[in-house]
Amino acid sequence: MLVEQWTGSLQTNFVNNGGTALGSSVSTQLNETMVYYEVHIRENKVGIPIGRLGPNDTPIEADPTLIEGYYQALAEGNEDFTLALLRASIEEMEDLYLGENSAGTDAQGYDDVLASFEQTAVDEDVKAQFAAIYSLIDGRSSISGDDTLYQGIPALVTLYKSDLFSTLNVQDADGANDGD
C-alpha cells in the first residue's frame, strides 16, 4: 500500500516540496530519522530496559522485561531475536541513507548527495559509523548488562547533525522568529 501511495501523488509531493528549509521533504525526512533513532531506537529499545531515564530527567530502574520481543526471548532463552530487531531497525535507516530498496538495489541516496558536494569523507565516516554500531550489536548477547550499546549509539547522531546536516544545510529547529 505504501508503494502504491508513493508511486501515486506522494512522490510528486515529496519532490515538489524542495529545498532544505525546515518543512521541506529533505529536512523533514532527516529530522524524523533522528527522532526515530534517538527516541524509538536508543531510548525505547535500549534506554528503557537498561534503566536510563524517564521523563523530566528522573532516573528509572532497569527492567529487562521491557526489551522488544520479550516473550520470544523468554521462549528461546536468549535475546537473539531482540538484537536482530534492533539491528534491522538501524539497517532500515542505513538503507534510507544509501537509497537502497528492500531488494538491495542502490539508487540515489544521501551518500550520492554528499559525493556531489565533494564531501566523500563525511560519507565514509557515516558508513564507518553504521558498521561500528552493527559490530557493537553483534558483539552482544543481551540488551542489558553494561551501557556501551546505549553510549555507542549517539555517535551517529553527532555525525548526522554536525556533518551531514551542515553539508546539506538542514536545520534541526527553526525559530518562530526572524533570523538575520
Binding site: G18, G19, T20, A21, S24, R52, L53, P55, N56, D57, P59, A121, V122, P154, V157, T158, L159, K161, S162, D163, F165, S166, T167, L168, N169, Q171, D172, A173, D174, G175, A176, N177, D178, G179, D180
Partner: protein
C-alpha cells in the same frame, strides 16, 4: 569653551528642515506597528515568551510577565507604534515603545537579532528628537509644538547610525571564510534551487563567491554613496535591489530589509522629503508656527558631548571582540551588538551531562524537557547560553538533592561548511568552574 566644540556646536545646531525626520517617524512607525501586529498574529508572543519554561535572559532578574502580561506588553507596543506614526502623544509613545521593546529584547538571547538592536537604537533617538513638529496630531492639538525646523544633529544622528551599521556589517565580512570560501553563502544558496531565474545557478561556488564579494562591497561603501548628493539616487536603487534580493533569498530575515529601505530615506534632501510629505493631508511646510526653536547653550554642550560619547560607544562595541583571543566565530565573545549579519553557519550536536558526585551516576540532560527546539539550537553554538543552562540545571539538581552536581558539556560543531570538530572541553565541570571561558573550556578552533 574650545574653538573646536564651538564649531561643532554651530554645525550640530544649525537649523534645518524637520521634513526628513517626519518621514522617518511615519515610515518607521508604520513598520513597527506592522511588525508588532505580525508578531501577535503569528502566535509568536505565546510561542517565544509564554510557552518556554526557561529563558536565556540577558539579566537573570529579567523575566517575561506572567499570564497574559506579555499580550499587554505587545498591545502597548502596538499602541505606541500607532502613536509614533500619527505623532500622537509623541514623547510618551516613543519612550514607551523604546522601553518596552528593550525589555522584550533583553528577555531571551535566543531571539537576539541585529535588527531588533537597531530598532532599539532608532526608537531611542526618535524619543529624543522632535519628529512630531509637523504632520502630527500633536502639532495639530498643541500649536506651540509646531515648527518646520529642527537642529541638524537630529537628522545627522540617524544618518550616522545607519552608516555605522553598514560599515561594520561590511567590515565583518572581510574575513577568509566570506571572501575566499564564499561561506556561509555556499552552504545556504544551493538549497534555493527552486527560485525562478536565479535557482539553477545557485549551486555554483562562483555564484556564492560573487554574492559574497558584492555584499561586502555594498555594505562597506553604500553609506558613502548615500551621503554624496550626486550618487544618492543610484545608491538608493542599489539599497532597494540589495535588500529585496536578500529578502527573496532569505525570507527568514524578516523585517530587516524593510527597516533599512525605510531608514535610508533619511539621507534624501529636505526638498525631497517636503515633496513626499506634501501628499499627506494636514499642515504644509509653508504654513504657520515659529520656524526656529533654538536650544539653550548649556543644553547644546550637553547634547554635543552626549553625541560624541554615543558615537564612541558605537565605534567601540563592534571592535570589543579584539579583547578576546581566538576565533570570534568560534567562541562568540563580543559577537552580539556588532552588526554581524548572516556571517556564520554553525551546526552540530551538544549534550549536557549531569553527574551525581555521591552516586557517580551520570546522565544526559533531556534538553527538550526545559528548552524549545529553537532555544536548543541557539544555545548549541553560543557558549554564554550553554553556561547559563548548565547553571540552571545544576541549580535545579542542587535544590532537589542538597548538594552540587557536576555538569559537563560535550559538543561538536561544524563552522561554515567545514567538518565538525570538538567544541568544548568535556572534562571541565562547568558548574564548579569559576571562569570557564578563561579556562580553555571552549577548545581552540582548528581551521
Amino acid at each position: 569653551m574650545t574653538g573646536f566644540s564651538t564649531k561643532a556646536q554651530d554645525f550640530l545646531f544649525r537649523q534645518v528642515s524637520v521634513a526628513p525626520l517626519v518621514t522617518l517617524r511615519i515610515a518607521l512607525g508604520v513598520l513597527l506597528l506592522y511588525s508588532t501586529l505580525r508578531t501577535w498574529q503569528k502566535g509568536w508572543i505565546a510561542e517565544l515568551y509564554i510557552t518556554p519554561t526557561y529563558h536565556f535572559g540577558f539579566f537573570s532578574w529579567l523575566e517575561p510577565l506572567p499570564g497574559v502580561g506579555m499580550y499587554w506588553v505587545f498591545g502597548l507596543l502596538a499602541l505606541a507604534a500607532l502613536g509614533i506614526t500619527l505623532g500622537l502623544f509623541y514623547r510618551v509613545s516613543t519612550a514607551l515603545f523604546f522601553a518596552l521593546f528593550l525589555y522584550v529584547e533583553l528577555l531571551d538571547k535566543t531571539y537576539y537579532l541585529n535588527h531588533y538592536y537597531l530598532v532599539t537604537l532608532l526608537t531611542f533617538w526618535l524619543a529624543v528628537v522632535p519628529a512630531h513638529r509637523a504632520y502630527s496630531v500633536d502639532a495639530w492639538l498643541f500649536p506651540h509644538l509646531r515648527s518646520t525646523q529642527c537642529a541638524r544633529w537630529c537628522i545627522l544622528i540617524f544618518q550616522v547610525q545607519l552608516s555605522v551599521v553598514y560599515f561594520f556589517a561590511g567590515l565583518a565580512k572581510v574575513n577568509p571564510d566570506w571572501l575566499l570560501r564564499g561561506q556561509p553563502l555556499a552552504t545556504w544558496l544551493p538549497g534555493k534551487y527552486q527560485l525562478p531565474l536565479l535557482g539553477p545557478w545557485l549551486h555554483l561556488k562562483e555564484v556564492a563567491l560573487l554574492f559574497s564579494w558584492l555584499g561586502c562591497l555594498y555594505d562597506l561603501t553604500i553609506w558613502l554613496f548615500l551621503w554624496w548628493r550626486k550618487s544618492r539616487g543610484l545608491a538608493y536603487v542599489a539599497v532597494l535591489a540589495f535588500h529585496l534580493l536578500t529578502y527573496v533569498l532569505f525570507p527568514r530575515i524578516g523585517m530587516f530589509p524593510a527597516i533599512m529601505i525605510c531608514g535610508t530615506l533619511i539621507f534624501f534632501s529636505e526638498g525631497w522629503h517636503q515633496r513626499v510629505l506634501s501628499w499627506l493631508p494636514g499642515s504644509s511646510f509653508a504654513s504657520d508656527g515659529p520656524t526656529a526653536k533654538t536650544t539653550p547653550l548649556a543644553r547644546q554642550k550637553l547634547i554635543t558631548y552626549g553625541l560624541g560619547l554615543y558615537l564612541a560607544v558605537q565605534l567601540c562595541l563592534p571592535l570589543r571582540y579584539l579583547a578576546f583571543p581566538g576565533n570570534l566565530f568560534w567562541h562568540e565573545q563580543g559577537y552580539r551588538f556588532s552588526w554581524r549579519v548572516m556571517l556564520m553557519e554553525k551546526n552540530g550536536y551538544t549534550s549536557v551531562i549531569l553527574r551525581d558526585p555521591a552516586t557517580h551516576r551520570q546522565h544526559e540532560v533531556r534538553q527538550e524537557a526545559y528548552l524549545t527546539p529553537f532555544q536548543r539550537q541557539q544555545m548549541r553554538s553560543q557558549p554564554d547560553m550553554l553556561l547559563q543552562f548548565a547553571q540552571y540545571v545544576g541549580d535545579a539538581f542542587a535544590e532537589q538533592n542538597g548538594y552540587a552536581p557536576e555538569v559537563y558539556v560535550k559538543s561538536r560543531l561544524a563552522l561554515n561548511g567545514r567538518r565538525s570538530q570538538p567544541y568544548t572541553n568535556d572534562t571541565l565541570n562547568v558548574y564548579a568552574a569559576a571562569q570557564p571561558m578563561k579556562q580553555n573550556w571552549i577548545l581552540p578552533f582548528i581551521p
